[in-house]
């Protein structure tokens, strides 16, 4: 090995990336070459200086900085989630202009309601869209269960991969608005179902979701 070759390979040697045979060859050259011995010593010295520099030049964060940073990130994230989807307190359904009136405590017994043609919405692939479900109730209904079943290729933002989402909600007297921010991840589309259950009774509302690219 020549001195020029050694200098080209020195980084690998100092970094421990050289195979055993080549390392032995380089080592043998260094033992017999004072100049290369000096070059190696300087390279190793620089590494040591850089390590010492690294230790000395790093500031310490305050004792509570990590705790505060994690908490702040979670708070920000949760606040943004809530702004996208209100899950508590009110659940209601209107799909593309359909308003369903719920009368009294026996809210499902509404024979006067004639189901219109299934409402529909059109979504663009990968573009979020908020679907406002508005539900009007003549009375407060506590501890109702809302279940949303999504068609293939549609997700609720913040709930990636989940086709069915269920939560407990209470309905206020009057209009209750539930915004669902949806995103189409693939072009299938289909039927979105929202089912409201209360004390043994249930009602399902459907929206046809079409997706364009």
């Amino acid at each position: 090995m020549t001195c020029t070759q050694l200098k080209e390979k020195l980084d690998d040697y100092v970094d421990g990336l050289m195979d055993r045979a080549e390392s032995a060859t380089l080592g043998a050259h260094i033992e017999n070459c004072n100049d290369c011995h000096q070059v190696l010593a300087r390279a190793q010295g620089l590494r040591a200086s850089l390590k010492a520099y690294g230790k000395s030049s790093m500031p310490r964060p305050d004792a509570t900085f990590f705790d505060r940073a994690l908490a702040r990130a979670a708070q920000t994230g949760i606040r943004r989630q809530r702004n996208r989807w209100i899950m508590t307190g009110a659940g209601g359904i209107i799909a593309a202009g359909l308003v369903l009136w719920m009368l009294g405590g026996m809210f499902l017994k509404t024979p006067e309601i004639v189901a219109p043609a299934m409402p529909s919405i059109v979504m663009t692939l990968e573009e979020p869209r908020t679907l406002n479900l508005v539900f009007s109730s003549a009375t407060t209904l506590a501890n109702a269960t809302m279940t949303v079943v999504l068609p293939q290729g549609v997700e609720v933002v913040g709930f990636a991969g989940q086709r069915e989402i269920t939560w407990i909600t209470s309905l206020a007297e009057g209009k209750n608005i539930l915004p669902l921010t949806l995103i189409a991840t693939s072009p299938e589309g289909g039927e979105l179902m929202a089912t409201l259950r209360h004390e043994g009774d249930d009602r399902t509302f459907r929206v046809q979701v079409s997706i364009i690219s």
Partner: protein, 183 residues
């Protein structure tokens, strides 16, 4: 806070805490000053929470987080004012006043060590951003070439060549072909 939100927060904390130290160090190496490093660090944690679903599926969150930080830094480089380490005053080396350097109990040697640190800081500041970053990550923070590839996306061969040139430039900037040795 709902139980879902509490679970999210707990998962986030558990997932990230083992990586915070290294992430903090990377933020400082990228940003160059403590206030900007902490801003960068906070921004990345917010991004990580927003992608918690993805993060829970990642086998090695550490490199993933470093990559997010590096990309965020590059995207915001004009906004994040980089404090080049042009002049390192003694007060900026936290805890490294002469009184607090781990002692040889030899004030002359302690002063030399502080001087060495400052000279190296000046020399690093003369390097290009690319060269300085690869020295900081590999030679100072002990990232392997493959890890630097995961962070920056650059091929390992490119990183290796860059490191080789960066070391050569650093040696030249130090003016002694790479040594801080004293007679």
């Amino acid at each position: 806070m709902s139980s879902l939100e509490q679970n999210q927060r707990a998962s986030f904390d558990t997932l990230l805490r083992p990586h915070l130290d290294r992430l903090y160090r990377l933020s400082f190496r990228l940003a160059g000053s403590k206030p900007e490093a902490e801003d960068l660090f906070q921004d990345v944690l917010v991004k990580a929470f927003a992608r918690l679903d993805n993060l829970l599926d990642v086998r090695e969150p550490g490199p993933w987080l470093c990559r997010v930080m590096y990309n965020h830094f590059i995207d915001n480089r004009r906004r994040i004012r980089r404090a080049r380490l042009v002049c390192v005053e003694e007060s900026q080396l936290r805890g490294q006043s002469l009184d607090s350097l781990p002692g040889d109990l030899d004030p002359v040697r302690d002063a030399e060590r502080l001087d060495d640190i400052m000279r190296l800081g000046h020399a690093l500041a003369t390097l290009s951003d690319e060269h300085r970053l690869v020295i900081l990550l590999h030679d100072i923070e002990d990232y392997k070439l493959a890890e630097i590839h995961q962070i920056t996306g650059d091929p390992v061969g490119t990183i290796k060549s860059r490191l080789h040139r960066a070391r050569a430039r650093l040696r030249k900037a130090l003016g002694t072909d790479g040594t801080n040795s004293r007679p």
